[in-house]
């Protein structure tokens, strides 16, 4: 090259020094290139570290608040199942047994344990040690086993939320439990804490007698919602979420896959299909509340479907996840190599057979992954459900898709808005449960993709 340039007339004879792979300039350039690459990698690592740090902060703040909610304080009382109170007629009629005065049994047990407490106000405070759910616990025990009548049993009751919070140390007193047991009073002034010295004294006395224990909070996973923090559970919301997702799955997958197959395999490429494609991509980015408004106008007001039902919530969420399913399915179909189609057509398969026997099964892992991600998205959604009445206080566990129900994220939202301190930790615990379900679903997506994935 340089030789030619030299020979040509009129060109400036400027000879470039021949490239020497040991020259200082070259070394500097090489170093700069290596440095650039290293910096590039560091930027990437920093980005990951930032994201990971934020995730850790989020998880830490949730878990550090929420882990206490998995335990509940329980108080042991000696209950005398007095036949005169429970079954004066002696008929053992289950209806009568259910309606008997169980609160009276708990109250007398408390008065007996603290005989020095008198006066209306003090006794009322004393009764407030035990959760208001105690009487239903006793009713269930007696109805299940009427032979208890006439006996005296030791029964563990849930403590009321204030006592529970105090026992866990979330309500401050200023001194540790051991110091208090040694007779040092709280340093935080009494009017600055929701629990007074008298209640603390009773609690300490029960504790000293071995009548206080911490047990796994099974209520959280087996019961419906409640206004009493110690009785509030997520099971109703978990069941509601399940029904809602079943409806979403049953609608979004068949419709989404059918739409994607038609668009990808059969539809002619023209202005119409372009328009449809743009609209589908657009819908994927529409704020979810819009789907809720649509659900309210169409399914509730026009079709007259019931409010707060998982059926309507599921339909609305299916509309919301449809674009995700269609886009993921189309991508999965595109990834199936043309050679598969050509080979199938070559041995005489019809286009219908090509798609149903070859392309769809090979695209299934991709479709499945897209579907599960769409479902995980639907599981975490609240905004569209607000419009169809699923942001509601519902105690009963839903029995079907038309019963009033709520879902997990909505329950988290409602708990976060309540004044009781004990709901703060339950909110975090509920978030942990929801995150657990999301990790499970996304993990399933990864597993299925790994298991069925095929590379060509």
């Amino acid at each position: 090259m340089t030789d030619i340039a030299q020979d040509l007339p009129g060109t400036v004879a400027k000879r470039r020094t021949p490239s020497r792979y040991q020259s200082d300039e070259f070394k500097a350039r090489l170093k700069a290139r290596y440095n650039a690459e290293r910096r590039f990698q560091v930027y990437g690592a920093l980005a990951i570290a930032t994201a990971a740090a934020m995730l850790v902060i989020l998880l830490f703040s949730i878990c550090s608040k929420g882990y206490l909610a998995f335990w509940q304080t329980e108080i042991k009382l000696e209950i005398t199942f007095d036949p005169a109170v429970l079954d004066p007629s002696g008929e053992r009629d289950p209806n009568g047994l259910r309606r008997a005065n169980y609160q009276g049994l708990i109250n007398s047990a408390l008065y007996e344990a603290f005989p020095e407490v008198s006066g209306r106000r003090d006794r009322r405070n004393l009764r407030a040690l035990i959760s208001s759910g105690g009487r239903f616990q006793l009713a269930d025990m007696v109805v299940a086993n009427p032979d208890l009548i006439g006996t005296t049993q030791e029964v563990w009751f849930l403590a009321s939320d204030d006592i529970d919070q105090f026992a866990k140390g979330t309500l401050p007193c200023g001194v540790t439990h051991e110091e208090r047991m040694a007779g040092i009073p709280c340093t935080v002034p009494e009017d600055s804490r929701p629990i007074n010295d008298r209640n603390i004294g009773w609690y300490d006395q029960l504790y000293a007698n071995g009548q206080v224990d911490f047990a796994f909070n099974s209520v959280l996973f087996t019961k419906g919602n409640s206004r009493e923090p110690e009785l509030a559970g997520m099971w109703g919301a978990i069941v509601g979420s399940f029904y809602t997702l079943v409806i979403t799955l049953a609608l979004a997958v068949p419709i989404g896959v059918a739409a994607a197959v038609y668009l990808e395999e059969f539809a002619p490429k023209n202005a119409w299909t372009d328009l449809i494609e743009i609209n589908i991509n657009n819908l994927a980015a529409v704020p979810s509340i819009v789907f809720g408004l649509l659900g309210l106008a169409v399914f509730l007001n026009f079709f007259g479907l019931p409010r707060s039902a998982p059926l309507v919530g599921g339909i609305v969420l299916a509309l919301m996840t449809l674009p995700t399913v269609i886009i993921a399915t189309r991508a999965a179909l595109k990834a199936v190599p043309p050679s598969i189609r050509e080979a199938a057509l070559g041995v005489g398969a019809s286009p219908y057979q090509v798609i149903l026997h070859h392309v769809l099964p090979l695209a299934a892992p991709g479709i499945l992954t897209g579907t599960i991600i769409g479902m995980a998205q639907a599981l975490g959604e609240t905004a569209p459900l607000l419009m169809v009445g699923m942001v509601a206080f519902i105690v009963d566990i839903p029995q079907g898709i038309t019963d009033a129900a709520t879902v997990m994220p909505v329950q988290i939202y409602m708990w976060s808005d309540l004044p009781e301190r004990a709901f703060v930790e339950r909110t975090s615990a509920a978030i942990m449960v929801l995150l657990g379900f999301l990790i499970l679903m996304n993990g399933l997506a990864v597993y299925l993709r790994k298991k069925f994935e095929r590379r060509w």
Binding site: A128, S226, A250, L305, P306, L356, F393, V395, T402
Partner: protein
Amino acid sequence: MISNKIAIAVMAVVTSTALASTAHAQARDQIRIVGSSTVFPFTTAVAENFGRDTDFKTPVVESTGSGGGLRLFCAGVGPQHPDITNASRKIKTSEIELCASNGVAEITEVTVGYDGIVIANSKQSELSDYTKGQLFTALADTVLIDGELETNPYETWDEIDPSLPAKDIEVLGPPPTSGTRDAFVELVMEEGCDDVGAEAAAEAAGIDPDEVCARVREDGMFVEAGENDNLIVQKLVANPDAYGIFGFSFLDQNSDTLQGSLIAGVEPTFDNIASGDYGVSRSLYFYVKNAHVGVIPGIREFLAEYTAERAWGPDGYLADKGLIPLPDDMRGAARTNAVNLSPM
């Protein structure tokens, strides 16, 4: 092919259950309640106890806000419409008309009790005492200075009155969509506006007094902190110089970290709010659709539970949840009114 058949079968099942449920909606055996998020914590407590102690299903209580609740309530008579709506304000004439035009003619109003609104700060700071006029001057968009209406120039509390702390004005409060905000504007801003004479000055200047009295400043001194009161509580704990506006029950639950400012020398306590001495409290209501009584089972019994002494009395479980009960004589009258379903 198999998957095709499954898909068709699933869709058939969904459609048929959808149709079946439409029929199901015609006969409802569960009370449905909508409305204010302020009354929600109390109504849900009653609903839960009602469901436990009777054979009726536990009512479904939705939190839709007072306005949204009344819109749903007034949409018509029939099982697809709610039976009761909670409201943290009185029903408006326009809403009564809307109800009437949709056939909801007879409505029973029940006053539940009071809700105090507090201006609180962290216990790490000193306790404050404000008049409504001072709060208006600190938070209004337009204030009265030497007889002239001007855009609010105050940046610290002691600029308003030398006796107030020399701290930046920083108040966290609910957004305009919230009922608490409406009540704060009505009970503090508008009264304070009148007290300092800004209302008269606006009238003299030919300006709509609402423009002056009800407009909260938007220059960053008043921070709209969202509907969630727990969020405001957390921010106050983290920032001892800030004040927050929220419902009394949140102060009650966080009395270890927060203190409620005195308003005109009166401390926001349960007793002061109940006696009416504390000046910033509002009534809470619910409205019952009389046409549904006897059609939807349990409404009468639900009203009896709500108005029972063990629920809304001074020692009842609603007081434990932070409701300030009505005075004794008013409770009796309100109970008779509710149980007899005397329409408005």
